[in-house]
């Protein structure tokens, strides 16, 4: 089995092949090495990833724990707030009841005292008279204190009602002057009254105006001896609104700036010793000022120690409550923050004083003009008087509750188009929307959301209408109501042909368009609209149940602002979507314009 000896030629070929193989092997080795290196890199990356993921998980768990703790704290805080508000309400009603209970025996003391005085006079028992007079005077003073405390507690509980009436100013002044005259004479003072000729009538709570004037005049009498008290009444127009100004000037002891600062605080007269020397409850000014603020005005003061004081009452001539008071020059009190002209008016109807205060302050900062109503009845009255841009309405109120107010608002043609946002602890959106609410926010109020929600609605009013083109009468009706609830005027059309007729009559702000309709469908309608230059800029939102094909999409995207698929939403969701979309579209357009 001898093998043939390979030829030199053959060997040379083998050597060449071997060299090629070696080279290839080297390349392969390099590749393998590189590949092994890469894998190692990937592996270490993988390892790093796992570590990172673990640490992220740990962080997430930590965050969740913190979040939980935060929620617990928030819950606790809101419970504490609830309790505090409850306590505040109880305090208010306790004071009201207590004052009533105190008054009953006190009335008996005053009444029997008067009877005894009469008897003593009749029987010639003059010796008893001074003592009886002292009992009588002390009882009267106690009664005045109780009345003041009751007034204050009512103001604080938000239960002070205003009875607006229109009355002539000069006879009211005469009336007050007649009542104050004995007090003027007591310290040998003179009273001068200057009434402008154009005073005429004003609309306010007569009793409270009278009480306020009487309070300021009696203060002037108390702190002035052998001097002059001047009452000056004028009428002026500021920013288009009529104001009646009463100035009560005295030549009495006057006040330091420090005293003026404390002046309007409850239970604080300018000086603690003042009470002992001059008497009085120390509540009169605080109450008077709150009365004026409730009526949309204010009281301010100017004074120099030793040179007398001037108290200035400013009240709107057509009392509608709470419009920013024009700031007098050099006034001490800076009451209402000045709002930009034309700030939108929001009417807040809520029986809870804490909530009202919070909302008012918060929305005030956000640039809203907030008018407050403490009850449903007052809310309705103010809504009629003010025609606010938006109404925020609490649901649970004593007496007339939010639902009743909402129903009444929607039943009044003058008010039905004002968007109403319900604020409630109870989540009852369905009922709210059914009764015509524009939106529904649950308490505790999300303060971030509230101003945006208000802004959304405040702008939708009194614009051109929205054209709803929809053949389903039910759905059309619901869309109309949804939009009307937030203040839109709505034109309806049952198909494309009718819609074109409506377009000719009036240019809408926006068109909501169904696609599948008899006579003229949405696509045909769109083509018609696009041939008219003047209609091309009207935004069109398609609301359709049609399963859109590629071709449909292509046709629509050219001419339609947005497509809403009916099937993707519940009816309620769809209507909300429509509503928000309309508001957003129109705002967007205005923003650009």
């Amino acid at each position: 089995m001898d093998q043939p000896i390979p030829s030199a030629e053959y060997i040379a070929k083998l050597e060449k092949d071997l060299a090629a193989l070696k080279k290839m092997n080297k390349v392969l080795m390099e590749r393998v090495e590189r590949s092994v290196n890469d894998t190692g890199g990937a592996y270490s990356l993988f390892e790093r990833n796992i570590t990172l993921q673990r640490s992220v998980e740990a962080r997430t768990r930590e965050l969740e724990k913190i979040n939980l703790e935060l929620h617990r704290l928030i819950d606790e805080a809101s419970r504490a707030q609830e309790a505090a508000e409850q306590a505040n309400r109880s305090k208010g009603s306790f004071l009201a009841n207590m004052s009533h209970e105190l008054r009953t025996p006190l009335n008996a003391i005053i009444g029997y005292g008067e009877m005894l005085l009469e008897e003593a006079e009749d029987l010639g028992q003059a010796g008893f008279i001074p003592d009886l007079q002292k009992i009588h005077a002390a009882a009267k003073h106690l009664l005045a204190l109780i009345n003041d405390i009751l007034d204050l507690s009512k103001i604080e509980a938000g239960k002070m009602d205003l009875y607006y009436e229109t009355f002539d100013v000069p006879p009211m002044i005469q009336d007050v002057v007649a009542t104050i005259t004995p007090l003027v004479k007591k310290n040998a003072n003179a009273l001068e009254v200057h009434c402008a000729d154009d005073l005429g009538a004003m609309r306010a709570d007569l009793t409270k105006v009278r009480q306020t004037l009487f309070n300021l005049l009696s203060n002037a009498c108390k702190f002035t001896e052998h001097g002059t008290i001047t009452l000056e009444v004028t009428r002026e127009t500021v920013d288009g609104g009529g104001w009646v100004t009463f100035r009560v000037r005295d030549t009495g002891i006057g006040m330091t700036p420090e005293q003026m600062e404390k002046l309007f605080q409850e239970f604080s007269q300018a000086d603690a010793s003042t009470t002992r020397k001059y008497g009085g409850t120390g509540l009169g000014l605080a109450i008077s000022r709150k009365f004026c603020q409730l009526m949309g005005g204010d009281i301010t003061v100017e004074s120099t120690l030793g040179h007398g004081s001037t108290f200035i009452i400013r009240l709107p001539a057509e009392g509608r409550a709470l419009k920013a008071v024009p700031a007098p020059r050099r006034e001490v009190s800076a009451s209402s923050a000045t709002l930009p002209e034309g700030a939108p008016t929001v009417l807040l109807i809520d029986d809870d004083p804490a909530m009202r205060d919070l909302t008012q302050r918060f929305l005030g900062k956000e640039g809203f003009h907030v008018v407050i109503a403490a009850s449903g009845e007052e809310g309705l009255r103010l809504a009629k008087a003010l025609k606010p841009a938006v109404i925020a309405l609490d649901v649970m109120m004593p007496g007339m509750d939010g639902w009743a107010v909402l129903t009444a608002l929607k039943a009044d043609p003058d008010l039905a188009d004002i968007p109403v946002i319900m604020l409630s602890i109870v989540d009852d959106k369905g009922k709210g929307y059914a009764l015509g609410a524009a939106d529904y926010l649950t308490k505790p109020i999300d303060w971030e959301r509230l101003p945006d929600t208000l802004r959304k609605y405040q702008q939708t009013r009194q614009q051109s209408p929205v054209l709803v083109v929809e053949d389903d009468a039910d759905l059309r009706e619901m869309m109309r109501r949804t939009l009307e609830n937030v203040g839109w005027a709505v034109i309806e059309a049952a198909n494309g042909r009718v819609a074109l007729e409506r377009l000719i009559e009036q240019r809408p702000e926006l068109i909501l368009l169904d696609l599948m309709m008899p006579e003229m469908d949405g696509f045909q309608f769109l083509e018609e609209v696009r041939t008219h230059e003047e209609w091309r800029s009207i935004p069109i939102v398609v609301v359709t149940a049609k399963d859109l094909t590629e071709e449909d999409h292509r046709r629509l995207t050219a001419s339609v602002a947005r497509v809403l698929q009916k099937g993707l939403y519940s009816r309620e969701e769809m209507l909300r979507e429509v509503r928000d979309l309309v508001a957003a579209r129109v705002q967007g357009i205005r923003g650009q314009g």
């Binding site: 009201a96 009533h100 009335n107 008996a108 005053i110 009444g111 029997y112």
Partner: protein
């Protein structure tokens, strides 16, 4: 002298007002609740009624409404006596058909003025 029906459930208030009115020469008839007030208004035919608003059995405004509904008592003037603390009492009283109102605590001179004004109006129809 004129006969006044005083309707008041609080004993002290009733006693004070009845005695002071009697002292000024009025004949005073007393009712302690709204139901009794309606009955006595029929049988006693008073010239004027002073009606507390917050009464047991029938409250003041309901009693006034019943007085206004009956021919025999329809034209008897009624002055409502309202508590200072009770917001809305005044409106309720006038709505029910009271001719006038006065606020408690009673200031006798002021009330007498109102009584006399209404009696005079009745005398000269």
């Amino acid at each position: 002298m004129a006969k006044i029906l005083l309707v008041e459930d609080s004993e002290m208030n009733r006693d004070m007002l009845a005695r002071r009115l009697a002292k000024r020469g009025y004949e005073v008839v007393i009712a302690v609740d709204g139901g009794q007030a309606v009955t006595l208004a029929q049988t006693e035919a008073p010239d004027l009624i002073l009606m507390d608003m917050n009464l047991p059995v029938l409250d003041g405004s309901e009693a006034t409404r019943q007085l206004r509904a009956a021919p025999a008592t329809r034209s008897i003037p009624v002055i409502a006596l309202t508590a200072h603390a009770m917001v809305g009492d005044r409106e309720k009283a006038l709505e029910a058909g009271c001719d006038d109102y006065d606020t408690k605590p009673i200031e006798l001179e002021r009330l007498l003025g109102k009584i006399e004004a209404l009696l005079k109006k009745e005398a000269t129809p």
